[in-house]
């Protein structure tokens, strides 16, 4: 019963968070200078043309009415229509989300596959001076090198030496699985560097935290092998921070890594939202931010649920608090 209440509380908190984000993004896009009719019609339009577009977009209503209309449509699944493409935003996002999701999941898979073992190794060898320095330098580089620098390097390298991978000729996986995965590889690799470095650092810290626990010391005293200790005691107990980080990274990646999408000409959510913001295409911006928020809230709730399965104390403490 306590767990059910805890889950219900988390879901309710998530819904309230989403409503707050909806209100915030709605107001935010309207206080930015440069209203939609001014941006889209450009400097050469007459006042009559501006007034007509304002009326068409419903921007002549008060903000509360506009918000009420928008949110009531959103809950029924109607995210509005793009004023640039004149297509339903839901359809446009449905085209772009799989593209971004492919790259995001590839990047996350690479990051976890590289970051977790590297983090474990770093922790196990933390007392070896040389290894610690090397791992700190590599980790620092991975986290601090901006994606636009790394991406530009990769674009330059692979366009000069193609190796069968072309830049800017992106193929969605839905059209051709093989070519889709191949064209997703480079942007996913660029994105995975930061994520892998962050995962390695989190894993290292989590593992180091577990290694000093008495039950690990007891296992060492019992003569268990290092691999057995890692598998049975360390990884299980270091899972929660890694899971939390993975969820955060996934939400970030699904929100759209704009620079990487721009560099590799990936028709994903990020570049779509950036253009929409530049053009004050309100419906698209609002829908895109809400999408990212939903992903973040849902993954956060799922991670908390997963964490409670790994360690039941999470839900117990959460319910008491």
């Amino acid at each position: 019963m306590q767990t059910v209440r805890w889950v219900g509380g988390r879901v309710l908190t998530g819904l309230v968070t989403l409503l707050g984000i909806a209100l915030l993004v709605f107001m935010a896009v309207r206080v930015v200078p440069g209203q939609a009719e001014r941006v889209l019609l450009g400097p050469l339009a007459t006042q009559e043309q501006r007034d007509a577009l304002v009326a068409e977009l419903g921007l002549d209503r008060d903000l509360a009415s506009q918000f009420g209309i928008w949110i009531s449509k959103v809950v029924t699944g109607d995210l509005g229509t793009s004023i640039v493409s004149r297509q339903p935003v839901l359809d446009e996002l449905a085209l772009r989300l799989p593209v971004t999701a492919t790259i995001a999941l590839m990047a996350l898979a690479i990051a976890l596959a590289v970051g977790i073992p590297v983090g474990v190794l770093q922790a196990l060898r933390a007392r070896r001076r040389g290894g610690a320095v090397v791992s700190r330098v590599l980790g620092g580089l991975g986290i601090s090198v901006p994606e636009f620098v790394l991406g530009a390097l990769v674009v330059l390298l692979f366009s000069s030496v193609p190796l069968g991978i072309t830049i800017g000729a992106f193929t969605p996986v839905a059209e051709d699985v093989g070519r889709g995965l191949l064209s997703s590889l480079l942007p996913a690799l660029v994105l995975s560097v930061f994520c892998a470095a962050a995962t390695a650092r989190t894993t290292r810290d989590a593992v180091l935290g577990v290694l000093v626990e008495p039950y690990v010391q007891a296992a060492v005293a019992r003569g268990e092998t290092p691999w057995s200790i890692v598998r049975h005691h360390v990884l299980r107990n270091a899972t929660i921070p890694i899971l939390t980080l993975a969820a955060t990274l996934l939400a970030y990646l699904l929100g759209g890594a704009v620079i990487v999408e721009g560099l590799f000409n990936v028709p994903g959510v990020g570049s779509y939202l950036l253009l929409a913001m530049d053009r004050r295409d309100y419906a698209v911006v609002q829908a895109g931010v809400m999408l990212a928020a939903v992903v973040f809230v849902v993954t956060s709730v799922l991670v908390e649920l997963a964490s409670s399965l790994v360690d039941p104390r999470v839900s117990t403490i959460g319910a008491r608090s």
Partner: protein, 535 residues
């Protein structure tokens, strides 16, 4: 969600430029002996096209509030894209010469009357023949639209169907207006299927139905266009391309990479350094097309908070700006300094002929002047120009800040706020195909978008109208010089330098035909003459 900005993308471009060993200046390409005058690339009749799909990457998509309606298209890329489907009565050729397009020929019985005879085989892609009624309806619709382009057509008195055997249209002007034909050559004056439009079976906002070389097969906004060859086109036999794929690739590095790795056959660049960057790419030829488009600076003479309300300060700034330095440093030598009349158009004023070019200015002439230069961040060239102007003005004692904002904010502060909320702002004008068209923008009563920062001057406005009524030649050149001199003295909108356009193509896969000069940003103007090679 992590946020970013165009500035970061620009930084990416800068990083890659640095990686590629860019030195900042580009060596102009040697002219090809086989290319005739007036072209920078030319596929002559000896080149047989293998046909197939032409892959092109361009910088941005159409994004007008009026969708795909050419009458309301305001940006150059919309003109290029819509021009693939629609035709105007005339087009521009080498040296801005007016050439036939949908009109097979025309005559001018007097200086206010134009009689156009349509191509006898012209049909819309739905198979219906183009009629004089379509021409009359389209041009009248443009005039009635209130679109800014209606003013550019000039003082049109009447447009009549005067068919007599052949399909014929007669346009009568209220007074002589020399840029009329050049204004007709722009995409907003495209001929639409008026019968279908009137019947409601064709919506020009959401679809394109024209008489041109291509039809739209698919469009995904900001991603790609697929065009199929129009078998109904009156010159279909000449078309060397079966299908045209336009990929929208906003980042210049992506377009450079597409040419390098062979996945694209043609791409455009506004960064003049692309000319040099592409020189080392195998099987890629890069050419620089001289645009009559030009950058200009707006000095706010209307807002009382602006230091440029004082005409002397404006004139001092005008005299201090070293246009040639902008060309050499900010635009990598791939541009020309210009006066109000675009430098590469016939009868244009020489930029060093205006009063400010020879004005003496004290070394500390701008002591105490504080101002901000406002630019928008989607065009990296503007930032480079702003930096150089900042240095030039600071050398004379001024305190100059730079401010870079997104397009929407720029538009709000410059064109919408009354008075304009800025001191100095930088942007660019299309140069069009006649030296006198763009001069209209120096009259804020015609160009209502600049009323928030410039003032109306009767003598300048009268000089503009007078010059637009004269035939090309010495007398008109003298009249345009008066326009240039007056605009220079008022110093509210300062012309700076032409806007470069670099075009790269895969020379093992494509033989394109590209004009040396262009006034409407349409580097795909002669795509029908392109020849696909068996690469």
């Amino acid at each position: 969600m992590r946020t970013t900005s165009t500035a970061a993308l620009a930084a990416a471009a800068v990083a890659a430029l640095a990686l590629a060993g860019c030195s900042g200046g580009s060596a102009p390409a040697e002219p090809d002996a086989d290319v005739p005058d007036g072209y920078v690339a030319y596929a002559d009749d000896s080149v047989t096209s293998a046909g197939g799909t032409l892959q092109v990457q361009i910088d941005y998509d159409t994004a007008e509030a009026q969708g795909l309606d050419p009458a309301f298209a305001e940006v150059a890329r919309s003109w290029s894209i819509m021009g693939l489907v629609y035709e105007s009565l005339v087009t521009v050729g080498p040296g801005f010469e007016i050439q036939p397009e949908l009109a097979a020929e025309w005559e001018q019985p007097d200086d206010t009357t134009y009689v156009f005879t349509l191509q006898p085989d012209a049909v819309f892609s739905n198979g219906r023949a183009v009629t004089a009624a379509d021409v009359v309806g389209s041009l009248q619709r443009l005039l009635d639209s209130g679109s800014v382009w209606s003013g550019q057509l000039g003082p049109v008195a009447s447009i009549e169907d005067t068919s007599d055997g052949a399909q014929q249209v007669t346009v009568t002007l209220e007074r002589p207006y020399t840029p009329f034909l050049a204004a007709l050559a722009n995409t907003p004056a495209a001929i639409l299927p008026m019968e279908e439009l009137t019947a409601g079976t064709f919506d020009p906002v959401t679809e394109m139905l024209g008489s041109g070389a291509f039809t739209v097969a698919e469009h995904r906004q900001d991603e790609s266009w697929t065009f199929a060859a129009n078998p109904e086109w009156w010159d279909a036999d000449a078309l060397g391309v079966d299908e045209l794929e336009l990929v929208i690739a906003g980042d210049e590095q992506t377009r450079l990479a597409g040419l390098r790795d062979g996945s694209t056959q043609l791409a455009n660049f506004s960064n003049a350094d692309a000319l040099q960057l592409l020189q080392s790419a195998p099987n890629v030829t890069a050419v620089s097309q001289t645009q009559s488009d030009f950058f200009y600076a707006m000095l706010n003479s209307v807002n009382p908070d602006s230091p440029f309300v004082d005409p002397e300060v404006r004139q001092t700034v005008n005299a201090l700006i070293d246009r040639q330095a902008l060309v050499d440093v900010a635009l990598a030598g791939a541009a020309e300094a210009t006066a109000v009349t675009p430098a590469n158009l016939p009868d244009a004023c020489a930029p060093d002929s205006v009063p400010s070019a020879s004005a003496e200015v004290d070394a500390d002439a701008l002591e105490g002047v504080e101002a901000t230069i406002l630019v928008y961040n989607s065009d990296p060239a503007l930032g480079a120009i702003a930096q150089l102007i900042q240095q030039q003005l600071q050398a004379a004692g001024a305190q100059i800040e730079l401010e870079s904002v997104d397009d929407g904010t720029f538009g709000e502060r410059v064109y919408v706020s009354q008075p304009g909320d800025f001191d100095i702002a930088l942007s660019w004008f299309a140069g069009y195909g006649d030296a006198s068209i763009v001069t209209s923008w120096w009259n804020p009563e015609t160009a209502f978008f600049n009323v928030g920062f410039t003032q109306a001057h009767d003598d300048l406005s009268e000089a503009i109208v007078a010059a637009q009524g004269l035939e090309p030649g010495a007398e008109r050149a003298e009249a345009l010089q008066t326009v240039c001199d007056l605009a220079d003295e008022y110093a509210e909108m300062l012309p700076l330098a032409t806007r470069p356009q670099v075009i790269g193509y895969a020379n093992d896969q494509l033989a394109p035909t590209i004009l040396a000069d262009e006034g409407y940003g349409d580097f795909l103007r002669l795509v029908a003459d392109f020849r696909m090679l068996e690469g």
